[in-house]
């Protein structure tokens, strides 16, 4: 946690330094591995293999096997009872003169010395005479009778010259052989070796010929030394723990088979502790060193790689933040470069670096590194350069991403915003035009591309390339169709919504989910209009109800004092005061208080009827019966004003759906109206007639006073013919009648023609007069 107390910039610089260090480690690791001779062999060899398993070891062993069998050969050739015998016969020749000579080893060595030959310290033949001093072949070249070192030689002489050799040549041959003998003697016998061998041939009588540098070791000890190889003449199976068997061993063994039987064997033993200095120990040490180098390289590679990743991740987390709160993201000046430019710049840098690496990299490498490593060095520095450029660009993008300016500040983002801004400022038709032109352009371009690629398909490397723009074209068309389809669906929904709202369903809402653009705006606006209408409607209903309630409550408050007025006027009248003046006054009081009573009652009824705030009890009733009943109620009353009721009613009953009590109230008001305003001694005509599925009740009378008023105004509240103001009644009768009729679903019309007053109430006739379906419709709006 100590790290967290560091300032952010220090932390980041430290991390960057670490990153660099790890990069160096990583590169060093790679170099170690790359330059190791085991590069490219994978990893398994490190723990599975030792020097004795390598091919170079096998090669060494093969040459040693060859040497061993040479030793087998030379031992008999040069030695007598285990020591070098210079008096051994080597070659027998016959000169052209017929003289036969047998040369001993000593003879030949001496003549070799005479010719100037000698053995070096590695037992190679060196020296020799000048060319002109050589014997001429034709002078005295003896015929070779036999050679002890090459017993079958005579059979090999295929050409005439082969059977002849000068003494110089013979001496050289023997000296070479002797050198080899010394070499083996020195390397395997005199010097301590890590390789022990024993070759044994046994004749049929049981006499063993043994060739070995490990006479003191029994057979099993040799097998225990580390690596061994045992091959016996009686078996074809090689008993060994070597990975690779020397290829020449079986043939060599058989070649030197002295007695032509199977009683022989060879055993090779290698002391893998390598206690003695010889080619094996040297090669083993070199091999071990190479392995250690490789492992070091691997470790460096792993540590460097892990460190690189870890620091990279940490840097990714911290990049862009100035404080440890990790809120504000600060950008460098080059982070302000738009996305596309920055990527382009990066590619430019990469290209430049590549160019430099290819042009001047090799030249620079020639100054710094050896020729073998130049190519590797160039590749390495090229890759490191690419990595650094990518790192720089990547972190720049990361910071922009964290600051959320990656797309926003990019050229595409800017131009898109500019386009949207420019488009949104233009009118919808011009946007439409722009879209259509864009559509035409894209479609045309794609068709052209498809056409071009199709026509030239045989010239192109990929002949089916035209399929790609074709698919794009298809997808574009589908996309366009989907857009149009969605637009149409939106329009459909919106027009349905408008239709619904115009029908009066103001609470209808268009489901705007999935809408976009102009459609969404439109639908939203329409929903708002609907809301507004709904609110207005509710407000209206509410205010109507409030008004009705207010009128009802006020009328209750008026009625209580009115009761006292009426009662006490009545009580006064009962006092039977003789004074006529007082009687007259009391009459006025009585009349006016009664009128006030009617007025308050009618006011409540009118307000309720017009606001629809009352309960209707709709049933099937007979209009004709109702008119008869009404006529019965009014006949005598009309008699008071000498009015004649002339009724013209159909015989059969006519059923309508209405609230009987309310309809009676309508008729009562109309009859009362006629009673009050008809001219005395006139006739009041009442008739009922069915027409076009409707039944109309009409009442006609001649007004006593001129009707200087519009028919419509008669049903307006408190509106009456001026002259009639002094008479009883509230002036609400016709208004109540109209409201009640409309509430029950009927029609109410007034006609004025001169002094003729005519009221008509219409109701739809029920189709089946006998079906009585009393449905209590509640109109409690």
């Amino acid at each position: 946690m100590k790290k967290n107390t560091w300032p952010m910039s220090l932390k980041k610089h430290f991390l960057l330094l670490l990153h660099g260090l790890f990069l160096c480690l990583f590169l060093a690791g790679i170099s170690f591995i790359y330059f190791n001779e085991n590069y490219g062999r994978g990893l398994s060899w490190i723990h599975e293999e030792s020097y004795a398993d390598t091919l170079s070891f096998t090669e060494q062993l093969e040459s040693d096997v060859e040497m061993i069998f040479k030793y087998v050969k030379y031992k008999d050739l040069f030695e007598t009872d285990g020591t070098l015998d210079y008096n051994k016969d080597m070659v027998c020749v016959t000169f052209t003169s017929g003289k036969t000579m047998i040369y001993t080893l000593n003879d030949l060595i001496r003549s070799a010395k005479r010719w100037g030959y000698y053995l070096t310290d590695t037992f190679e033949v060196a020296g020799g005479p000048a060319v002109h001093e050589r014997e001429t072949r034709n002078a005295s070249i003896p015929l070779i009778e036999w050679k002890t070192y090459d017993p079958d030689a005579a059979e090999h002489y295929t050409e005439p010259g082969d059977a002849y050799a000068t003494r110089e040549e013979l001496a050289y041959e023997v000296l070479t052989l002797l050198g080899e003998y010394y070499q083996i003697q020195y390397n395997y016998m005199d010097k301590p070796s890590n390789l022990y061998f024993r070759v044994s041939y046994m004749d049929n009588s049981g006499t063993e010929q043994l060739y070995t540098n490990a006479a003191q070791y029994p057979l099993d000890d040799l097998k225990r030394l580390g690596r061994y190889l045992y091959l016996s003449g009686s078996s074809i199976i090689i008993d060994t723990n070597l990975k690779h068997v020397p290829k020449n061993i079986t043939s060599e063994l058989e070649n030197y088979n002295l007695y032509g039987n199977n009683n022989y064997y060879i055993i090779l033993g290698l002391d893998t502790r390598y206690p003695n200095t010889d080619p094996y120990s040297i090669a083993h040490n070199a091999y071990t060193k190479v392995r250690v180098n490789y492992i070091t390289g691997l470790i460096l590679f792993s540590i460097g790689g892990a460190g690189l990743l870890a620091t990279l991740l940490l840097l990714c987390c911290l990049s862009g933040y100035q404080t440890s709160e990790r809120k504000a993201v600060s950008l460098y000046y080059f982070d302000r470069i738009p996305l596309e430019c920055s990527i382009f710049l990066s590619f430019l840098c990469l290209w430049l670096w590549k160019y430099m690496a290819s042009r001047t990299g090799t030249a620079a490498a020639q100054i710094l590194v050896a020729k073998d490593h130049q190519k590797y060095f160039v590749t390495l520095s090229y890759d490191v350069g690419i990595y650094l450029i990518c790192l720089l660009e990547g972190f720049s993008l990361l910071r922009q991403y964290k600051a959320k300016t990656l797309i926003h500040d990019s050229l595409i983002g800017r131009s898109t915003r500019w386009c949207i801004l420019a488009l949104s400022r233009t009118s919808f038709p011009s946007r439409m035009t722009a879209c259509f032109l864009g559509y035409l352009g894209i479609t045309g371009g794609l068709i052209f591309t498809v056409n071009y690629l199709y026509k030239n398909r045989l010239l192109l490397a990929v002949s089916y390339l035209y399929i790609i723009p074709a698919i794009v074209l298809l997808l574009f068309q589908v996309w366009t169709f989907l857009l149009l389809y969605r637009n149409a669906a939106e329009t459909e929904k919106i027009s349905f919504g408008i239709f619904k709202m115009s029908e009066g369903d103001t609470s209808y809402k268009i489901d705007t989910s999935g809408f976009s653009g102009k459609g969404a705006n439109l639908a939203e606006t329409l929903n708002n209009i609907g809301d507004g209408l709904e609110t207005a409607l509710q407000e209206k209903v509410k205010s109507e109800r409030l008004k009705a309630d207010l009128i009802t409550n006020v009328s209750h408050d008026i009625k209580t004092p009115l009761t006292s007025i009426i009662n006490y006027v009545d009580l006064l009248k009962r006092e039977k005061i003789q004074d006529e003046k007082i009687q007259r006054y009391l009459d006025v009081l009585d009349q006016k208080s009664q009128r006030l009573k009617t007025l308050t009652e009618d006011l409540v009824e009118a307000s309720k009827a017009s606001s629809g705030n009352l309960k209707l009890d709709i049933a099937n009733i007979d209009l004709v019966e109702l008119i008869h009943q009404t006529n019965g109620e009014f006949e005598e009353k009309y008699g008071i004003r000498h009015l004649e009721l002339v009724a013209s009613l159909p015989q059969e009953s006519i059923l309508i759906a209405a609230d009987g009590r309310r309809l009676w109230r309508v008729l009562e008001n109309l009859y009362n109206n006629a009673f009050k305003y008809a001219m005395e001694h006139s006739r009041v005509y009442v008739d009922v007639a069915a027409k076009n599925g409707f039944v109309y009740f009409t009442i006609k009378n001649v007004s006593e006073n001129p009707l200087n008023i519009n028919a419509d105004e008669l049903t307006e509240r408190f509106v009456r013919g001026d002259v009639a103001r002094t008479t009883e009644g509230s002036g609400l009768g016709l208004s109540i009648a109209k409201s009640l009729t409309l509430l029950q679903g009927g029609s109410f019309e007034l006609y004025i023609d001169g002094d003729l007053f005519k009221a008509q109430v219409g109701f739809p006739v029920l189709s089946s007069p006998h079906s009585s379906a009393p449905d209590a419709r509640t109109l409690d709006a």
Partner: protein, 231 residues
């Protein structure tokens, strides 16, 4: 002498009712709110109660409910509320009658008398259940001697009126159309029946009802016919 409890928060109205009822020979106890009325009921023998609805403290509806817990005296609600709902409520909770303000003093007196008669006399007359005697609430028809009584008061009807009433009372609750009545009474087929029946009905109503516009017995079912309310 019957005692009537009048309860209203408006003193002048109580006073006026007192004058009318006292003039008719009733003893009147006055109360000005529901609690007072309940208290007075406890200590007085009361034959009928007139109660206002809108009163401070205990209102008329709750007062009626309280009274009905242990008394069956006639209760007349007198209220400025004239809507159907108010009337239905009042009658449903146990009131016997509902009179709206401003009221006709004569009607009020008539109704008070009617209720008292029914409560005190008809109630203990028992079921005479003589043949040819038809009873419907306060309405009684003795077919043997062609007499009609409303709340024990003899009513004079013309023969046709009598027959119509008898038909309706015999079939109390059933609605008769004008044509049906005509055919039953005149024994003729009704061809374009005129207003005769309706006029007769109106006459009957004026004779047997206290307020013909708001009949208790002979009801008009507008657009259908007439009926005697089954009680």
């Amino acid at each position: 002498m019957q005692t009537i409890l009048v309860c209203d928060d408006d003193k002048q109205i109580v006073e006026a009712i007192d004058i009318y009822l006292t003039g008719e020979g009733f003893q009147v106890i006055k109360a000005f709110d529901g609690y007072e009325a309940l208290e007075l009921l406890e200590y007085n023998e009361v034959d009928l109660m007139i109660v206002d609805v809108m009163m401070p403290g205990l209102d008329g509806i709750r007062t009626t409910l309280k009274v009905r817990e242990n008394s069956s005296i006639p209760i007349i609600i007198l209220s400025a509320k004239s809507e159907d709902n108010d009337k239905i409520l009042g009658l449903n909770i146990g009131a016997d009658d509902y009179i709206t303000k401003p009221f006709n003093p004569l009607e009020l007196v008539a109704r008070v008398k009617s209720h008292i008669r029914r409560y005190t006399q008809l109630g203990n007359m028992g079921q005479q259940n003589v043949e040819n005697v038809y009873k419907c609430g306060g309405l009684l028809i003795n077919d043997d001697n062609k007499e009609v009584f409303v709340d024990d008061e003899a009513i004079k009807l013309t023969p046709i009126e009598y027959n119509i009433l008898l038909l309706l009372v015999k079939n109390a609750g059933k609605v008769f159309s004008i044509d049906e009545i005509y055919e039953q009474i005149w024994n003729e087929e009704a061809i374009g029946a005129d207003n005769t029946v309706a006029v007769h009905i109106r006459h009957i109503r004026e004779k047997i009802e206290i307020n013909p516009r708001e009949p208790r017995y002979l009801k008009v079912v507008w657009g259908v016919g007439y009926k005697i309310e089954k009680q």
